[in-house]
Amino acid sequence: MELNQELEALTQALSGHGVEENALVTTLGKWDPLEREAFRKKTPNLFIEDKERHFQRWDDHYARLLKHEFVRFKNTVMLWSMHPWERDARLVKEAIKKGKASYGVLVEIACTRSSEELLGARKAYHSLFDHSIEEDVASHIHGIDRKLLVALVSAYRYEGPKIKNEHAKSEAKIIYDVIKNAHKKPINEDDEVIRILATRSKPHLKALYNHYKDISGKNLDEDLDDIRFKEAVQCLCTPQIYFCKVLDSALKIDVDKNTKKALGRVIVTRADIDIKEIMADYNNLYGVTLPHKIQDIAKGNYKDFLLNLIARGSN
């Protein structure tokens, strides 16, 4: 390979999700000082030229990003090998620490896990952190999101199929009225909506979702402005579509690190549950297969690991 091609390959190896370990080993590993200097001079977003002192230094910001990329494979391996309860407990802990940008993860875990899975996460959280999830969510989160989030993480929903259709219908109407009056009273202060979303069973909520469409003409999550309420409804009523959207946002080159993490998180946490359905929906929504997208965007061991996880169980 001539130098320019190699430079291109190496730049590619260091941009994306994860790093292309092979390229780093075979290409960078054999370059002499001149070749490496050429690399530094020709990659202005990785290296900054100090014209006064005649050398090139790593761009600090990129170096920090790269640190995350190198460690992405390791983090995914750790997450995958963990017991699902520890996994979810640690994801919750991290989300609480990271703040508002990560609250979506709290909604995701609270609403897409089964009652027993969420309970397991709560048990593991006791063991790992000497606190309960609800206690930490309640004491670290202030402001408008708190009520909904505490209620969602505390849920232990009935999981049987029995529902009372009249209740689902009347509760759809209640929510419809609250949304219509949202300009007078914001939805996060409405105890009724939070009660319904946080205590009703998933089959009940799915029936409610359908009734809502009959009343409003639109889907409930579309009519909700508050992002957390929107996510909650999507996770409770149409989880696979929700996961497709999260994956699609994550599978882009220039996204912030929280969004990027979602790729590994979703695949690891759904690989044993419903990844096949998610892949089918993904294909329908975006016209490209998930493995294909991952092949494009992810690199190296990280990419191979993810592809393996989703291919498991395929015949």
């Binding site: 309970l119 709560r122 048990k123 006791h126 000497d130 606190h131 309960s132 999830i133 609800e134 206690e135 309640a138 004491s139 708190r146 009520k147 505490v150 209620a151 505390s154 849920a155 232990y156 929903r157 009935y158 999981e159 049987g160 029995k162 209740h167 105890d191 009660r195 946080a198 205590t199 009703r200 069973s201």
Partner: protein, 316 residues
């Protein structure tokens, strides 16, 4: 300590046969029923119920319902149930009947049982009634009391020993502020009472007393008839010193309106294998009358019911 007197060994099959004999024919030998059931612990009752089912293909509780009636039937059936099933039944009834003190029963269940016991109760409730306890509490209540009760039954409290004194002090201060401003609907009081571990809360209550010189419950006395404030006080009492709370329930059981039989039997039945001894002692300290004497003199004319309660109290 428990007040229940039960033999170390018992044969579930023999017990089942004795009970069957007691139920045969036109009458019922209530004494025999009491002599067995009121002297078997939880594990023994479970085996007995299974043996009865195996031998006679009938649920023991269904059989009892046919044999006895009234308050005796109610309490005997509650006693025979497993604790989780029993508490689920109490909760369901409290919500459906919406008696004036329904919320106390919910709070008792949410705050005096351990986290694992509360979990078992919720599972039992889902199995029996096809709804979650949380959803039924939520749909039967409104406003402030709903927020408190739902939070209390939803919680899965940490039960370890780790506590944080600085958090306790800061939360004692938060509670004090709420009391000063009479801002009782403030979400913080519900957050603290429903999410913190019991050990943590006890440190908080002590901090409150140390800093402000009065007990925390005094702060919520503003309006004795306010259901929500009473619920807050009940919550604090159940967490702080459950035995004293139960002794108080018993003490208040007799008033101008008569005797709250349900309250008396509920306390006796649910605590007989837990801490009824301490409750009895506390009761005597305050009333100078033993609980047994109270039951003997005040519980309704139904002798079997009275004898049953006395047996649970340890009087053989």
């Amino acid at each position: 300590m428990a007040t229940l007197v039960a033999p170390k060994d018992s044969s579930p099959i023999e017990d089942a046969e004795t009970i069957k004999r007691a139920c045969k024919g036109l009458g019922t030998d209530e004494r025999a029923l009491i002599s067995i059931l009121a002297h078997r612990n939880e594990a023994q009752r479970k085996l007995l119920r299974q043996a009865y089912l195996d031998l006679y293909h009938q649920d023991l509780i269904q059989q009892l319902k046919c044999e006895v009636s009234g308050k005796f039937e109610r309490s005997l059936c509650h006693w025979t149930m497993e604790p989780a099933e029993r508490d689920a039944a109490y909760a369901k009834e409290a919500l459906e009947k919406a008696t004036p003190n329904y919320y106390k029963i919910i709070i008792e269940i949410g705050c005096t049982r351990t986290s694992e016991e509360l979990l078992a109760i919720k599972r039992s409730y889902q199995f029996l009634y096809k709804h979650s306890l949380e959803e039924d509490v939520a749909s039967h209540t409104f406003s402030d009391i709903r927020r408190l009760l739902v939070a209390i039954v939803s919680t899965y409290r940490y039960e370890g020993h780790v506590i944080d004194e600085s958090v306790a002090i800061s939360e004692a201060n938060i509670i004090h502020q709420i009391i000063e401003k009479k801002d009782f609907s403030n979400d913080e009081i519900i957050r603290i009472l429903s999410t913190r571990s019991k050990k943590q809360l006890c440190v908080t209550f002590n901090s409150f007393r140390n800093i402000y010189g009065s007990t925390i419950t005094k702060g919520f006395v503003a309006s004795p008839s306010d259901e929500y404030l009473d619920a807050l006080r009940t919550t604090i009492r159940c967490i702080k010193y459950p035995q004293r709370y139960f002794a108080k329930v018993l003490r208040n059981a007799k008033n101008e309106l008569g005797v709250d039989d349900d309250g008396v039997s509920r306390v006796i039945i649910t605590r007989a294998e837990e801490d009824l001894k301490e409750i009895k002692d506390l009761y005597f300290k305050r009333n100078n009358v033993t609980l047994e004497d109270f039951v003997t003199n005040n519980i309704s004319a139904d002798g079997d019911y009275k004898n049953f309660l006395l047996a649970l109290l340890g009087r053989t």
